[in-house]
């Protein structure tokens, strides 16, 4: 069971109060992009064993979307942060580095 803290209302709730929204920090490639970029945007997802970034929604609470950094093997949550960003904040990266030195995820490290 994941325990997530919503960065908007400050509630620490268990995962049944939230809804998973898939991988975080996707860059959209729409009309005019190359076939390869569009295919990658539409289909290619990370499936890591370890550090992962996801979108979640506080569906039974304040209704806001946010980001979460967690470990897929231990269900440890490194931190949650605002949805209004295209990259995890440094504090989240530092928190992950403290627990999982040398981690990488797509272009982040």
């Amino acid at each position: 069971m994941l325990i997530l803290t919503c960065p908007y209302c400050g509630v620490s709730g268990e995962e049944t109060e939230f809804h998973a929204g898939g991988e975080a920090h996707l860059k959209r490639f729409g009309p005019g992009s190359s076939d390869a970029d569009f295919e990658s945007y539409l289909f290619h997802r990370e499936n890591p064993k370890g550090v992962h970034f996801e979108r979640w929604r506080h569906v039974s609470g304040c209704g806001k979307w946010f980001h979460a950094a967690r470990c897929t093997t231990t269900l440890e949550v490194f931190g949650t942060y605002t949805a209004q960003t295209s990259e995890p904040p440094q504090s989240i990266k530092d928190a992950i580095t403290a627990k999982r030195p040398g981690w990488t995820w797509r272009d982040f490290a």
Partner: protein, 188 residues
């Protein structure tokens, strides 16, 4: 005009706590930036209570303000005053990016009264209801079994809970089951 009728027409249940449906309550959803003085003034003007902080709910009788999310407030007034309250807020908010909607008839309100009230809600909701964590004046939006609800503590041993009107009977059944005499857990 016809009389307003609430979802379950003030049904009550006496278990190890008392559960009652409260009848019509004026409820207005106000969306806007909480930091704006226009939004603060519009809300406090009709509700007559202080502006709530994060996850706070201030209720006096039928009037009150509840913090629903960083940009949403629940404004409570007596049922008959809801439309005038919306009009008054809209004139206060003229020119401000905001939204006020009368949602009174979209919801049902329950009261859970008695020393076991924390326990009844704790059986249904994934929320820490210990006396240290959940104090009077706190609001929590969560789920009760399978449906979304919000509840707040009016005073010690008295909770008010709101849910969508369409699931009022389901929520009342849940509360009744959780409050059946003999099912006390005695945790809190």
């Amino acid at each position: 005009m016809s009389d307003p009728v609430s979802a379950l027409n003030r049904v009550t249940f006496d278990g190890f706590v008392k559960v009652e449906e409260m009848g019509p309550r004026g409820m207005i959803t106000l969306r806007g930036d909480h930091a704006l003085p226009e939004v603060k003034n519009a809300a406090t003007g009709v509700a007559g209570v202080n502006f709530p902080g994060q996850r706070e709910c201030r209720v006096v009788e039928e009037r009150g303000l509840a913090w629903m999310s960083p940009d949403e407030l629940l404004v409570m007034v007596p049922h008959g005053e809801a439309d005038t309250a919306v009009a008054s807020m809209e004139s206060d908010l003229d020119g401000t990016h905001s939204l006020a909607v009368n949602v009174s008839d979209a919801r049902a309100v329950f009261r859970i009264i008695g020393p076991g009230a924390r326990e009844v809600l704790a059986k249904l909701c994934p929320v820490d209801l210990s006396p240290e964590a959940f104090v009077p004046g706190t609001i929590r939006r969560t789920r009760a079994a399978q449906v979304p609800v919000a509840f707040w503590m009016v005073e010690e041993d008295v909770f008010e809970l709101v849910c969508f009107r369409s699931v009022a009977a389901y929520v009342f059944d849940l509360l009744k089951t959780a409050a059946i005499p003999g099912s006390e857990v005695g945790y809190f």
